[in-house]
């Protein structure tokens, strides 16, 4: 069997085409170097089927592009998403707790702690000067500061908790949106798979990006299906299966399935602030201890005009309602500084109130609240730092596989350009050979 004279030209043409495709892929990689979620592509070149040239063997016929391959490592995706969940969780907690911590403004001369100090001291001063109107006014003033500071702290914590709950709602919407985008992408991908086409890498990139985002929101399990679609679940709560999406309506619908991600971080922050035994309830306990301790002592004393006390010192029952009794602010002589009837110079009862200083259920409780919030915030900062470091490390690992390296692409650019040039030269040589054949043969003796 003889080989066509034109085979060489065909071979060179295939070479030109293949090198050009490879250059096209390099170009796409370079232009997408900064596109989020872009997975670098490689044009996989294979040798084309040879021609049997008996008895020499098989003669090569050139090259073709077998596929445009996305270079990605599923294991690294899995690790990166796992870290993304942790990072989402810890960052949400850290950000919230640093706000909580800032509302305390401790340690300082303006925090509740020093207002408590001033409050107890004003009672001591009153014990020294029970008949002094100035001392009585000072007690009322410092008591109003303490009550105001407790109320302020309560309302700021409530505000932060409200923001957190708002954040939970927004995150749930975000999660549902992301799942529905994934469902749409899945649809397109699986229809391409079913018709036996190569799946568009751009669609896969977009879906991977969405899956990354989804993983940062909650502890989502991603199960790839044979048809190219995915099944998504949070614990036993199925988000997406066979193209059917189940909307998450509230956190309680997820229950104990939710363990990580931004959403779980916000839920845990909400529990720390407003849950049972949370900061707000500790503040309420502290306020009601203050109210009842001072009021009990106030009830045991006698007013400036010598009669038994009938007016409470504080009104309200908790951190949101604590206030100084307006009857006392209107008439400071009603403060029961005296420990005995008709003894205006007796300051024993004021002294008894002053000696509530340092009580483990009042200012002592406040100190432990500050320490607790500080510890929680510090722990969240550290955990978030660790999660960030780990996440950066695994992202780098992943990027190392799937990311576009400009250096590498530049080298490829040179390589494929040279390949193209060389193929062109081959064609040139073939052309020369044929020219010789056509123009020089059959001219003997001419």
């Amino acid at each position: 069997m003889s080989i066509s004279s034109f085979l060489g030209i065909e071979t060179a043409l295939r070479g030109l085409e293949a090198q050009q495709r490879a250059l096209d892929v390099t170009g796409t990689n370079i232009t997408n170097a900064n596109t989020p979620g872009y997975t670098r592509r490689v044009a996989t070149l294979v040798e084309t089927q040879g021609l049997r040239d008996v008895p020499a063997g098989v003669l090569g016929t050139g090259v073709s592009v077998q596929s445009y391959t996305r270079i990605r490592d599923g294991v690294l995706d899995y690790q990166a998403r796992g870290q993304g969940m942790l990072l989402g969780y810890q960052t949400a907690r850290r950000d919230g707790l640093s706000q909580v911590e800032a509302t305390l403004s401790e340690p300082s001369d303006t925090g509740l702690s020093s207002l408590f100090d001033k409050f107890w001291s004003s009672w001591q001063d009153l014990a020294n000067q029970p008949t002094s109107t100035a001392a009585r006014q000072a007690v009322l003033g410092s008591a109003q500061s303490v009550a105001g500071a407790i109320q302020g702290l309560q309302s700021r914590l409530t505000q932060i908790d409200g923001d957190t709950q708002q954040g939970i709602t927004t995150t749930i919407n975000d999660l549902n949106d992301t799942v529905s985008q994934i469902a749409r992408l899945d649809d397109a991908i699986s229809s391409q798979t079913k018709t036996g086409q190569q799946v568009d890498g751009g669609l896969l990139d977009q879906r991977d990006l969405m899956l990354d985002k989804l993983s940062s929101l909650a502890n989502v399990t991603i199960t790839p299906q044979a048809d190219g679609s995915t099944t998504l679940a949070i614990g036993s709560f199925t988000l997406l299966s066979s193209g059917t999406q189940t909307q998450v309506t509230s956190v309680s619908a997820l229950g104990s399935n939710l363990t990580s991600g931004k959403l779980a971080g916000l839920v845990s922050l909400d529990t720390s602030i407003a849950g049972s035994g949370g900061y707000l309830s500790e503040l309420d306990t502290l306020a009601s201890s203050l109210i009842s301790a001072v009021n009990t002592q106030q009830a045991a004393g006698y007013t400036l005009n010598g009669s038994a006390s009938t007016q409470a010192f504080f009104t309200g029952t908790d951190a949101s309602s604590i206030a100084v009794n307006s009857a006392l602010t209107a008439d400071s002589s009603l403060i029961a500084a005296s420990g005995a009837p008709n003894e205006p110079g007796n300051g024993d009862n004021a002294l008894a109130i002053a000696n509530l200083r340092g009580s483990t259920s009042i200012d002592g409780a406040y100190q432990s609240l500050v320490t607790e919030i500080g510890s929680d915030s510090r722990e969240a900062q550290r955990n978030a730092d660790v999660a960030q470091t780990l996440s950066d490390a695994v992202e780098n690992k992943r990027e190392s596989v799937m990311g576009v390296s400009i250096d590498e692409e530049m080298a490829n650019l040179v390589r494929f350009q040279r390949g193209y040039q060389a193929s062109a030269r081959v064609m040139n040589a073939m052309d020369d050979v044929l020219q010789t054949l056509i123009e020089r043969t059959g001219r003997v003796g001419l």
Binding site: P107, W120, V370, S400
Partner: protein, 297 residues
């Protein structure tokens, strides 16, 4: 090829992470430097913040006790001054009694002495109406009403004690038993002086020289006893003051150890962190520009 590929976005991410953490460290050092405090938020060191709050509270308490002591000292001095002026009156009265007991004296002279004794009694009563601030200091806890009036010799105070707390649970008693020492119509200096005046007017010179004089001496002894008790309180207050002063110093130092930044160390820290930050920025600026692109033609 086994080496990891390094892409531009990896370099960028690492560079950014490093620059950000360096910037955060600089900001933290700057906060310490500008506030002069080691602790700027509870999370800086939760245990130390708890300790700082406790020390601040202790310091507040100590400073309050110092105020209590200085208030007590003022009160004590006012009492001491009053008691010594009462003492002067009593000594003058004693001279007059000795003079009046002299049988050679005419009745009109004795009447004149009796008038002076009455003036002394009024003087003692008005001295005992002394006030510290707006409080009567010899009326027990009835500090808003004068213990004596000019119209009669009734004592309108009570015997409850005036005290000041100078440490948790430690009181100093600042009152004297006015009714016994200064007295009223039924006893004490006032009653003795009234008897003396009536004996002078009735010419009972025998009683003047014997029972009246010894009664006055006994009353005077009571007064001196009260004075020495008030004097003892002064010493107690002085030692409390110096003890509280030391306590304040120690607590302030402890608080400063916990809370205040070591400025020299913080400044060195700041310079180091800042240098690190600048270096990260400079390295980044060079690193980020270079690729094979720069060398291909």
């Amino acid at each position: 090829m086994t080496t990891d590929r390094v892409t531009m976005s990896m370099t960028n991410r690492t560079l950014l992470a490093n620059i950000e953490s360096a910037a955060a460290r600089v900001a933290k050092a700057q906060a310490k430097l500008s506030s002069g405090k080691e602790l700027n938020a509870p999370s800086d060191d939760p245990y130390a913040v708890g300790r700082a709050l406790q020390l601040r509270s202790e310091l507040g308490e100590v400073q309050q006790y110092q105020r209590n002591v200085s208030d007590a000292q003022g009160l004590q001095q006012a009492m001491d001054t009053t008691l010594s002026s009462v003492n002067d009156y009593v000594l003058r009265a004693r001279d007059l009694v000795v003079q009046g007991a002299n049988g050679a004296l005419g009745q009109s002279d004795r009447n004149a002495i009796a008038d002076e004794i009455d003036q002394i009694t009024d003087g003692i009563k008005s001295a005992a109406n002394a006030r510290y601030g707006d409080q009567y200091i010899f009326g027990g806890t009835k500090t808003t009403t004068a213990p004596y009036s000019t119209s009669n010799d009734t004592y309108s105070g009570n015997s409850a004690s005036i005290h000041r707390e100078i440490a948790r649970g430690a009181d100093v008693n600042l009152s004297i038993d006015t009714k016994t020492v200064i007295g009223d119509s039924g006893g004490g200096i006032i009653s003795v002086l009234r008897t003396i005046a009536s004996d002078l007017r009735s010419g009972s010179t025998a009683a003047l020289g014997t029972t009246d004089l010894s009664a006055l001496d006994a009353a005077h002894d009571g007064l001196v006893g009260a004075q020495s008790r008030v004097g003892a309180v002064a010493q107690q207050l002085e030692s409390a003051q110096s003890r509280l002063g030391q306590l304040e110093e120690v607590t302030t130092k402890q608080l400063s150890d916990v809370e205040d930044a070591d400025m020299a160390k913080t400044f060195v820290d700041y310079s180091t962190q800042n240098a690190g930050y600048q270096a990260a920025l400079k390295a980044g600026a060079q690193l980020i520009q270079q690729s094979l692109l720069d060398f291909l033609h």
